[in-house]
C-alpha cells in the first residue's frame, strides 16, 4: 500500500495510470477508511487529492458554482451564496453523517462512491449538475446521473477521476429541496431520498421540473414522469397526489435491513410530495 | 417432649418440573444448608440443582449464598432459580 499526495492534476493522473492493482482517491476518506478497515478494500495506491490546487475551492462560474472534489460538507454549508442558490443540494450534503463526518466528507466522494443511497446525488440530479472528469487524454463534463453504473461501480476509466461538480446558474423563481427518510434523526443511511427542483413562471405555474429518487433502485433515479405531472400546474392536492403515486410506482426497491419494499415505495411518494412543496415555496420566494 | 415442627419449603422455577410437579416439601433443618441437604435426600432428582443453582427466599428476602442463614418453621421459605443481574 502506497500513499501519495500529488500537487497537480497531471501528476495525479500519471500516478493513477502507472499504478498496479487497485487505486483509490482520498478526499474526505469517510467511505474509503471504513471500507479499508472492514477488509472490503485493500488498495495498492491511495491518492490524496487535497494538495492539488482548486480541489478545496468553491468558484463562481457562469452564474453558477464549481465545487472542488475535496470541498467538505461543512465548507459547502458555510458558503452563503451556494446555500442561497441551491438549498436543496446544500441540505442534502449536510445530511451526510454527523458534524464530524461533515468536517471531511465531500459531495464528489458521495457521488463517486456510487452508493444507491447517497444523499447528495438525487439533489444534484434534480438541479441538473454536471461532473468534470479529468484523465490522461481529455477532460469531460457529464451529467451527474451518469456517473454511477451500479452499486459501487462508476463510469470512470483507469486514470480518470472527478475533479469537480458544477452547479448551473439557477433560473429566476427556481426552488430546490431534498428530503430523506431515516429511522433515527441523524447518523443513518437514507432508506428513501427524494430531490426536487422546480422553476415557476410569474403566475406560479411550474415550467421546469426535475425529480430524483435515491435508495429505491440500484442507482439514483431521474423520474421524468414525475416531472411531467408538475409541468404546467400549480401544486394543488390533486397534482401532489398524482406526483406521490408516480414516485411510489417509479421506485423499484429491495427488502433489506434498512427497509421493506412496501415501506420504501410508500415513503418515496410521501417524501417527493413533501419535497415538491418545499421547493415550490422556495421558488415562490 | 413436644413434637418437632417441620419447615414448609415451596419450589419455584425449574425445580418444579424436576421434582415431578411437586411444589411443597415438609423438611427438617436449622439453617439453609441443612434444609437443602434434607431436600436432596427427599427428592434426589433435585440434588444436582441444589449446589449453587438456587436462591432461597426467606420471609421475602432472597439469599444467594447464605447457607448458614437460620430457618424456623414460621418462615416463608421458597426455592427460586439463582439469579444474576446486569
Amino acid at each position: 500500500m502506497r500513499y501519495e499526495a500529488p500537487e497537480t492534476i497531471k501528476a495525479a493522473v500519471g500516478l493513477l495510470i502507472k499504478a498496479r492493482g487497485q487505486s483509490r482517491i482520498l478526499a474526505g476518506g469517510t467511505d474509503l477508511m471504513v471500507q479499508m478497515r472492514s477488509g472490503m478494500l485493500e488498495p495498492d495506491l491511495i491518492m490524496d487529492i487535497k494538495r492539488i490546487p482548486g480541489m478545496r475551492d468553491i468558484v463562481p462560474e457562469k452564474g453558477g458554482f464549481r465545487i472542488g472534489a475535496a470541498v467538505s460538507g461543512s465548507e459547502l454549508g458555510e458558503h452563503a451564496k451556494v446555500s442561497k442558490m441551491w438549498p436543496g443540494v446544500v441540505e442534502a450534503v449536510e445530511l451526510i453523517g454527523s458534524t464530524q463526518i461533515q468536517g471531511r466528507a465531500t459531495m464528489v466522494g458521495n457521488l463517486c462512491n456510487a452508493s444507491p443511497a447517497a444523499d447528495s446525488v438525487p439533489a444534484l440530479i434534480a438541479v441538473g449538475a454536471t461532473a468534470r472528469i479529468v484523465g490522461n487524454k481529455r477532460t469531460r463534463d457529464v451529467p451527474v446521473e451518469t456517473i454511477a453504473k451500479a452499486p459501487g461501480k462508476t463510469i470512470l476509466a483507469k486514470g480518470e477521476f472527478v475533479s469537480s461538480v458544477f452547479l448551473p446558474k439557477a433560473l429566476p423563481r427556481t426552488g430546490s429541496a431534498y428530503l430523506r427518510f431515516i429511522p433515527r434523526t441523524e447518523m443513518d443511511i437514507a432508506v428513501v431520498g427524494s430531490g426536487v427542483c422546480l422553476t415557476l413562471n410569474p403566475k406560479g405555474v411550474v415550467t421546469k421540473a426535475r425529480v430524483s429518487l435515491g435508495a429505491v433502485a440500484a442507482r439514483a433515479l431521474l423520474v421524468e414522469e414525475a416531472a411531467d405531472v408538475l409541468l404546467g400546474n400549480k401544486l394543488n392536492d390533486d397534482v401532489l397526489e398524482r406526483l406521490a403515486d408516480i414516485a411510489s410506482d417509479a421506485a423499484t426497491p429491495i427488502n433489506d435491513k434498512r427497509g421493506t419494499v412496501a415501506f420504501r415505495k410508500q415513503v418515496a411518494g410521501v417524501l417527493t410530495r413533501r419535497a415538491a412543496l418545499i421547493a415550490f415555496q422556495r421558488a415562490k420566494g | 417432649m413436644p413434637e418437632q415442627r417441620l419447615l414448609t419449603v415451596k419450589l419455584g422455577g425449574s425445580l418444579v418440573s424436576r421434582a415431578g410437579g411437586r411444589t411443597e416439601f415438609k423438611l427438617e433443618g436449622r439453617n439453609i444448608m441443612e434444609m437443602l441437604r434434607h431436600l436432596g435426600r427427599d427428592c434426589p432428582e433435585l440434588e444436582p440443582m441444589l449446589g449453587n443453582a438456587v436462591s432461597v427466599a426467606v420471609d421475602g428476602q432472597i439469599y444467594r449464598d447464605a447457607l448458614l442463614h437460620p430457618l424456623n418453621p414460621d418462615n416463608e421459605i421458597i426455592l427460586l432459580p439463582r439469579m444474576a443481574g446486569g
Binding site: 429511522p183 441523524e186 | 432472597i62 449464598d65 446486569g86
Partner: protein, 766 residues
C-alpha cells in the same frame, strides 16, 4: 438488619448523603487521563487478534495454522487444542471463548494469533485455514422450538428431565407429540399461585396478546479490551475492563489451569457494561496467547466483534392473558415466555417470568418460561436481564385493559398494585416497597397533565427489579493527615466511587473531599462479586459504612488509650472522638486529623474493614410516563416528553441516581423503536455496527424528567435501594403503549420501526 436511626427521609439527618459532589475520578475523565481497557501498554507487547466463524453453524473438520505460524512477526497461534478442559472450568464458557468441534454462531472464535503489530496479526488471520462443513442452523426462538428444528446441541439433553418440556411445550402449542429425544429447549420454569382457570371464569374482561421482542445489545461504547502478561513461572497479570475482576480471575484461572493466587487482575476504568461485561470473552484467549508467546499480549475487540461475539440479551416470544372485573380488579393472569439466549443455556427467562407480574397483587397467576438455545452468540446479562421483555408484554395488556374499562391507567395500576405484605407472583412476600408511591408521584407530575395533539399518544408502564447484594469486601486506611483511602472491589460503572466516599464521609463525620476511593485489584482485597444486579451502592455501600464504623471504633479505642479511659467511654461524633459522658472524664475532643497524626506513635496505623455476603437488597419499582407523536405517513415516532419516577430507597448521590433513571429510559427507547439484531437467511448478523444497530443519538430524545421517590429499604443502614436496572424495565411498554394510543392499534412486535408502524396502520384501515 434493623433500620438505623438515620434512615429517615428527612434530609437534615444527613450531611453528605443526598448531595451531588464531583466524583473522585472526574478530572481524569474530562482530561483524557483516565485509563480504560485499551489504554494500557507494556514493554514488548504483542497485538492479539481473533479469527471468527463466518458460519452460523458448522462442523470444524480441521484447522491448519502452519502458514500463520511461519509468518515473520507471528509469535503465537492458538486454537481449542491450547485450551484443554481443566477440572474446575465451566465447559460452556470454555467452548464459547474458543470453538471446539463446531462453530455454533456467526462470530464464534475459532483461533487467535499474537504478532508484533496489527498488520502482521491481520495477515496471519488470513493464513489460518479452517475446513468447515456447514450444518443447518436456527436463530429464531419460535422456530427453534419446532419438532423438526436443527439441533444446536444434538444429544446433549438426551435423557434429562428437560426433555419432557418439549412434549409439554408442543402440547401447549397444539402440536403433535414429538418422538425426538433431544430438543433446543433446555429448561422450563414454573411460577405462580392460585387457580387461573377459576380466576378467568370470574373475569368480566379478558385481554390476550402475543408479543415478540428482538435481541438488543448493551451497546457500551468501550469495546472489550485487555492486556495479559503471563511469565515463565506460570504467574500472570491481567489488565482488563470488566464489571468483575474477581470473577475474571477465578474463571480465567479455572479455564487455564492456573492457581487463583497466581493470577492478579487489575480493573481498568470501564467504558460501560450494562451487564455485558459480567463474563469473559477475550481475557482467557489473551492469557493463553501470552503464555504461549512468553510476551505481553493486548487484545482489543473491534465494534463488529463486539456485536457478533459478545452477549446481546435474549430475543423473546411471549403470550399474556389478563382478566379483570368491571371495576378494574385483576382476577387472573397467565403468561408463557420463550426466550432464546444463543448457543448455550442461560437465557434470562426465569427472571422474565419472575418479574412479569411482580407489580401486581394477584390471587391467581401462572407463568411458564422456556429457555431455548439457537445459533446466536451466547447472551449476556443486560440491565434487569429478562425483565423489560416480559414487562413489555404484561404492561401492554394492562394498558389495553385500562382502555377497555375506560379507566385511568395509573388508577388501574394502583388498584392492583403490590404493597408491603403482598404475596408476589414469583412466591415471596414483599416487605416495604414503593410502587404506589411512584404511581402517585407520576400522576401528580406536570407531564401527566400535558395536552396531547393530533397523532400523539401517552403511555404509562410500571416495572420491578429484585436488586441484589452479594459478596463484598471494603478496606479503609487512615492516612497520616486524616484523609482516608477507601478501597472497594466493585468496578465503578456509573460514579459509585463518589457514592462510597459520601457514605464513608457521612459515617465518620468528615468532609467528602477527605475520602478518596479506588477500585482495588484482586490481590489487594478479598473477593467481591461482579458489579451487577444494581448491587454496588447497596452492598459496597453497606460494607463501606461498616468499614467506616470499624475505623471509628478503632479511633475511639485509640483516643481511649491516649486519655487512659475505657474504650466504651469514648464515642465518635462529627469527625472526632469525644468522651461518652460526664463520667468518662473531661477531655477536649480528638479530631480524626489529630488521631491520624499521632497514630504511628500511639500503637500503629489505623484501618477499618468489612467483609460480608450482603443480604437485604430491597426491590425497586418505577413508573414511566411518555408522550410520543407518530407521523402517519412514514411511521416515524418522536418522543415528545418522558418521565421516570422510581424508588431509590435513599438517593446517596442524587445526580447519579437521576443519571441511572435517564440512561435506562433512553436505552429502553432504543430497544422499543430501533434496536435489533438482524439475521439473514444464512444465519449471519447483518448489522454489526453502530450505523445499522441504531442506539439513540442525542437528537432522538428529549430531556428525561425524573422524580426520585424514597421509601427506605430496611436492609440498608441508610435505606438505600439499588437503582441501576429498574429504569430499563418500564420503557418498552411505556413507549409501546404511547405508540398504540397514537396510532390506534396495539403494537406487539419490537422494534416498532417505521415499516412496522406503517404496516400496523394499514392493517387498521383494512
Amino acid at each position: 438488619m434493623p433500620l438505623d436511626a438515620k434512615t429517615s427521609n428527612d434530609k437534615k439527618a444527613f450531611k453528605s448523603v443526598g448531595t451531588s459532589p464531583i466524583r473522585p475520578d472526574g478530572i481524569d475523565k474530562v482530561t483524557g487521563r483516565a485509563r480504560f481497557g485499551a489504554d494500557m501498554s507494556a514493554p514488548g507487547m504483542l497485538v492479539g487478534r481473533i479469527l471468527r466463524s463466518p458460519h452460523a453453524h458448522a462442523k470444524i473438520k480441521s484447522i491448519d495454522t502452519s502458514k500463520a505460524e511461519a509468518l515473520p512477526g507471528v509469535k503465537a497461534v492458538i486454537t481449542s487444542a491450547d485450551l484443554p478442559k481443566y477440572k474446575d472450568a465451566d465447559e460452556d464458557i470454555l467452548i464459547n471463548i474458543m470453538a471446539r468441534d463446531r462453530a455454533l454462531y456467526d462470530g464464534h472464535t475459532v483461533a487467535a494469533v499474537a504478532a508484533i503489530d496489527a498488520a502482521v496479526a491481520k495477515k496471519a488471520l488470513k493464513l489460518i485455514k479452517v475446513d468447515y462443513e456447514i450444518m443447518p442452523h436456527v436463530t429464531d426462538v419460535d422456530l427453534a422450538m419446532l419438532p423438526n428444528a436443527p439441533l444446536v446441541h444434538p444429544g446433549r439433553y438426551d435423557g434429562m428431565a428437560e426433555n419432557e418440556h418439549l412434549a409439554l411445550a408442543l402440547q401447549e402449542q397444539g402440536k403433535a407429540k414429538s418422538k425426538r429425544k433431544s430438543t433446543n429447549i433446555v429448561s422450563r420454569y414454573d411460577f405462580g399461585h392460585g387457580d387461573v382457570k377459576k380466576g378467568f371464569k370470574q373475569a368480566d374482561v379478558i385481554v390476550e396478546h402475543e408479543f415478540t421482542t428482538e435481541a438488543t445489545h448493551q451497546g457500551y461504547i468501550e469495546p472489550h479490551a485487555c492486556l495479559a502478561n503471563v511469565s515463565s513461572d506460570g504467574s500472570g497479570e491481567l489488565w482488563v475492563c470488566t464489571q468483575g475482576h474477581f470473577m475474571v480471575r477465578d474463571v480465567c484461572a479455572a479455564l487455564l489451569g492456573m492457581d487463583v493466587s497466581s493470577l492478579r487482575v487489575t480493573p481498568s476504568e470501564i467504558g460501560g457494561g450494562f451487564g455485558g461485561k459480567t463474563t469473559v470473552f477475550i481475557e482467557p484467549v489473551a492469557l493463553a496467547l501470552s503464555r504461549k508467546a512468553g510476551r505481553p499480549v493486548k487484545v482489543v475487540m473491534s465494534r463488529e466483534e463486539v456485536f457478533r461475539a459478545t452477549g446481546p440479551t435474549a430475543s423473546s416470544s411471549i403470550k399474556v392473558r389478563l382478566g379483570a372485573k368491571k371495576d378494574g380488579r385483576f382476577v387472573a393472569a397467565e403468561a408463557v415466555l420463550k426466550y432464546q439466549g444463543g448457543a448455550f443455556p442461560g437465557s434470562p427467562v426465569e427472571m422474565g417470568a419472575m418479574t412479569a407480574f411482580a407489580c401486581y397483587d394477584l390471587a391467581n397467576v401462572k407463568i411458564v418460561g422456556y429457555d431455548v438455545v439457537t445459533n446466536r452468540p451466547k447472551q449476556a446479562a443486560y440491565r434487569a436481564p429478562g425483565a423489560p421483555m416480559s414487562a413489555f408484554a404484561v404492561e401492554g395488556c394492562v394498558g389495553e385493559l385500562a382502555e377497555k374499562l375506560g379507566m385511568d391507567p395509573i388508577e388501574l395500576r394502583k388498584k392492583n398494585a403490590a404493597v408491603e405484605g403482598t404475596k408476589s407472583s414469583y412466591g415471596p412476600t414483599f416487605g416495604p416497597i414503593g410502587l404506589v408511591e411512584t404511581l402517585d408521584a407520576a400522576k401528580k407530575h406536570k407531564n401527566y397533565k400535558a395536552k396531547l395533539g393530533k397523532n400523539q399518544g401517552r403511555g404509562v408502564a410500571s416495572g420491578f427489579w429484585f436488586n441484589f447484594g452479594g459478596n463484598t469486601c471494603v478496606n479503609i486506611n487512615l492516612n497520616v493527615d486524616g484523609t482516608l483511602a477507601l478501597a472497594v472491589g466493585t468496578p465503578d460503572i456509573g460514579g459509585s466511587r463518589a457514592s462510597m466516599c459520601l457514605m464513608a464521609a457521612e459515617e465518620l463525620g468528615i468532609p467528602y473531599d477527605d475520602v478518596r476511593a479506588i477500585v482495588a485489584d484482586t490481590s489487594s482485597l478479598g473477593y467481591n462479586d461482579v458489579t451487577d444486579g444494581s448491587r454496588v451502592t447497596f452492598a459496597s455501600g453497606l460494607a463501606t459504612i461498616n468499614a467506616a464504623r470499624d475505623c471509628a471504633a478503632k479511633l475511639c479505642k485509640r483516643a481511649a488509650q491516649i486519655w487512659d479511659i475505657p474504650a466504651d467511654a469514648v464515642k465518635w461524633e462529627n469527625g472526632a472522638a469525644h468522651p461518652a459522658g460526664a463520667n468518662a472524664g473531661d477531655f477536649p475532643p480528638l479530631s480524626i486529623k489529630e488521631l491520624a497524626g499521632q497514630a504511628h506513635s500511639t500503637g500503629g496505623p489505623i484501618a477499618g474493614h468489612y467483609e460480608v455476603n450482603a443480604d437485604g437488597a430491597g426491590p425497586s419499582f418505577a413508573t414511566h410516563v411518555v408522550d410520543v407523536e407518530v407521523d402517519p405517513e412514514t411511521g416515524a415516532t418522536k418522543v415528545l416528553r418522558y418521565l421516570v419516577v422510581q424508588d431509590a430507597g435513599k438517593a446517596v448521590h442524587r445526580a447519579y441516581v437521576e443519571g441511572q433513571f435517564q440512561g435506562g429510559a433512553v436505552q429502553g427507547i432504543g430497544w422499543v423503536l430501533n434496536e435489533e439484531y438482524i439475521y439473514g437467511e444464512d444465519g449471519r448478523l447483518q448489522n454489526a455496527g453502530f450505523l445499522d444497530y441504531r442506539i439513540p443519538v442525542c437528537s432522538d430524545v428529549p430531556m428525561i424528567d425524573t422524580v426520585i421517590v424514597e421509601v427506605p429499604n430496611p436492609g440498608h443502614p441508610y435505606g438505600v435501594r439499588g437503582v441501576g436496572e429498574t429504569s430499563i424495565v418500564p420503557p418498552l411498554a411505556a413507549v409501546a403503549n404511547a405508540v398504540s394510543a397514537a396510532i390506534g392499534v396495539r403494537a406487539t412486535t419490537l422494534p416498532m420501526s417505521p415499516p412496522r408502524i406503517l404496516e400496523a396502520l394499514k392493517s387498521k384501515s383494512a
